[in-house]
């Protein structure tokens, strides 16, 4: 059904809504069973963390693209590892076309009914489980809007139009009492997609407009109810051209959020925990480092999870650390990164590791 939804084919919307409701109830229960304190709805009704915006924003036309055709999807490390990518692209994707939204008319939020249904399903699922808090993710303007503008006079106007539209969704999530998670992988990961390669100052300027647009959308919403997630793209490649966290951390900290969720448990970014010795996390903020990865079937040992947590707690203080994941486990509904059974074992390891760390810290 999600495939039909994604490809603009006919589907039974009542049946889909019903299945989503059941699926959300299941993943919430499973998160609680695995010991996750702050669960999400698992984005069960969404085609993808980014793609879902297509169903909720007007002003865009969908153009089918093939993986590899879209210049924005070309990563700079593809030049250095051409043989690898040739093999990798055979396994990547769901076989179907992917869609690129192109903006050709004014942007507005049209997803009021869908977000209400997300909220209702999540609330229903949370009945009867015991958790500390609950969050719903939503896409950042800067990650949704990348190079598709054919209507607004400039990129800034385009981004602020997306921000105005998404604000409706952000506000709905916060008003429903949930923590709002802004997903913004585009902040670091557009770096090695741009052609020609930008200088660092130019890229920081490119990103700063996107942070401004996001802050515009977040204006008036309570910071303590907002967390901001970044990662460097969830594909399983060398990642050798990822921009270092130190080059974007100032931008990250400019986001009007109470918490920052940052990929930190894979071979390319695990070392960056030490950066927090040099960069001060503002007093009222929480850090949510990834301590388990979506990039490997290896299940992290709880002691490794605990070690990673301890590294952060030692720098920013234990009250300011929440153990998180590097990224989602199924960024697109049709192309999960790991098999569900392994995901649940990893989340179990996450909560066991957090218990071990808590024992040492308290």
């Amino acid at each position: 059904m999600i495939r039909a939804l994604q490809n603009g084919q006919d589907y039974d919307s009542v049946a889909l809504d019903d299945q989503v409701k059941t699926a959300v109830a299941d993943v919430v229960r499973q998160q609680a069973d695995a010991g996750v304190d702050i669960p999400s709805d698992g984005e069960q009704g969404k085609t993808g963390f980014l793609l879902y915006g297509n169903e909720r924003l007007s002003g865009f036309e969908q153009v089918a693209i093939q993986l590899g055709d879209n210049p924005r999807v070309i990563r700079r490390d593809q030049a250095a590892f051409a043989d690898f990518y040739e093999e990798y692209f055979k396994t990547e994707g769901d076989g179907g076309p992917r869609w690129q939204p192109v903006c050709t008319s004014p942007i507005a939020y049209t997803g009021q009914a869908i977000i209400q249904s997300d909220i209702d399903h999540f609330k229903a699922a949370l009945q009867g489980v015991s958790v500390e808090e609950a969050f719903l993710p939503a896409i950042a303007p800067g990650t949704f809007g990348r190079g598709q503008n054919q209507y607004y006079p400039d990129e800034e106007a385009f981004l602020f139009a997306i921000a105005d539209a998404l604000k409706v969704e952000y506000k709905a999530i916060v008003d429903a009492g949930f923590v709002l998670q802004i997903d913004d992988p585009g902040l670091p990961d557009t770096w090695d997609m741009l052609n020609p390669a930008p200088s660092l100052p130019d890229y920081q300027k490119y990103a700063a407009v996107r942070i401004d647009a996001l802050n515009h959308a977040l204006e008036g919403l309570p910071q303590e109810q907002i967390r901001y997630h970044i990662c460097w793209g969830s594909w399983h490649g060398p990642h050798s051209t990822d921009i270092p966290l130190k080059d974007v951390v100032d931008l990250v900290l400019r986001v009007r959020a109470g918490g920052y969720s940052i990929e930190a448990a894979n071979p390319r970014h695990e070392h960056e925990w030490k950066l927090w010795r040099e960069v001060k996390l503002p007093d009222d903020k929480v850090l949510i480092p990834g301590v388990i990865a979506h990039t490997t079937n290896h299940i992290e040992h709880p002691e490794l999870v605990a070690d990673r947590i301890m590294n952060y707690a030692g720098i920013v203080g234990k009250e300011n650390v929440i153990a998180g994941t590097d990224c989602g486990f199924s960024q697109r509904a049709l192309n999960p990164r790991l098999h569900p059974s392994i995901v649940w074992a990893k989340l179990q390891a996450l909560s066991e590791g957090a218990k071990l760390a808590s024992k040492q810290l308290w």
Binding site: F81, F84, H239, H271, K274, N297, I299, P340
Partner: protein, 372 residues
Amino acid sequence: MKRSTDRILTTHTGSLPRPMDLAGMLEALDSGGPLDQDALKTRVRESVAEVVKLQVESGIDVVSDGEQGKVGYSTYVRHRLTGFEGEGSMVVLSDWNDFPEASARRPLPSTVSRPACDGPIEWKDKGALQTDFDNFNAALSGAGPGLGSGAGPGSGAGPGSGAGPGSGAGPGSGATEAFMTAASPGVVAHFMINRYYPSREAYLARLADVMKEEYDAIHQAGFLLQVDCPDLAMGRHLRFPDLSTQEFLKVAEANIEVLNHADIPADRIRLHLCWGNYEGPHHRDIAKLPDDKVIIPGVVDSTTNYIEHPRLIAQRIVKYAELVGKENVIAGSDCGFGTFARTSNTVEPEVTWAKLRAMADGAAIASEQLCG
């Protein structure tokens, strides 16, 4: 064995990717398909020269022949020894079996054959060993100063003595030492089960006697011997999932006992241990490491195409150095990058070389921190 006296040395586990055409020839050798033996010999010699050169260029200090001529790090012995013609049995991936649905997504295992032992084990092709030595020596003599044959004693330049003669080759200027891998009796028994000898003990004892000749020959040829013993760790969940831990430790002890009867000085042997070179859940991995003199922790992973950041590698090295002393740490890889010759590698060859370069960079960063 060279130690990290002046800086953190780098090495890896032994196997490195083979060129596609060579992997194809080795698969033909293994399956008994049509094969031009002379072409194979030539290609192996060329590939050993190539991988030695690439290791030196990547900044690897303690290099191997990349096992270019071997079909797999353990089952290659069946091409040199008699007695392995029986019907084999696959290992049980007990960790994957805990995730039956997910296991449908796991990559196909190597098709390298794993026959059982069904007759007396004797040497049938000692020439294969000499060929290994000749190929490796030829490659080393073309790969930079300091090596050619048995890197003599004369390391020992104490800290502070500055530019010691002989050793002290800076990163990238050439290999510091050369090692050659050989299968432990235990890992041979792990992959190729016994259907001939009256007991597991008798089978291991015979394997130990025969393999001793290979170990001694490698030592006498002047190479550092690496004995591959993943059986001590991965044997737990892949071959003996049903034993209690106590019972498994008995099996492992028997495997170690037969190993110890090679009479080669301990500082000319290193032992490699791992939990199975595959990207599975691994939640059943047993954790018990035998003591060793120099620890060669894996600081790059052979199951993922993510390239470790040099700073992460440095952090990993420093962690071990703080626990056991920097002289006792050599940076290594988790496992081989071509454990079985196959035409499709878990980690692409070009990514493998980038990982080894990252390891050399990471070791340099760690050395700066540790050795000032």
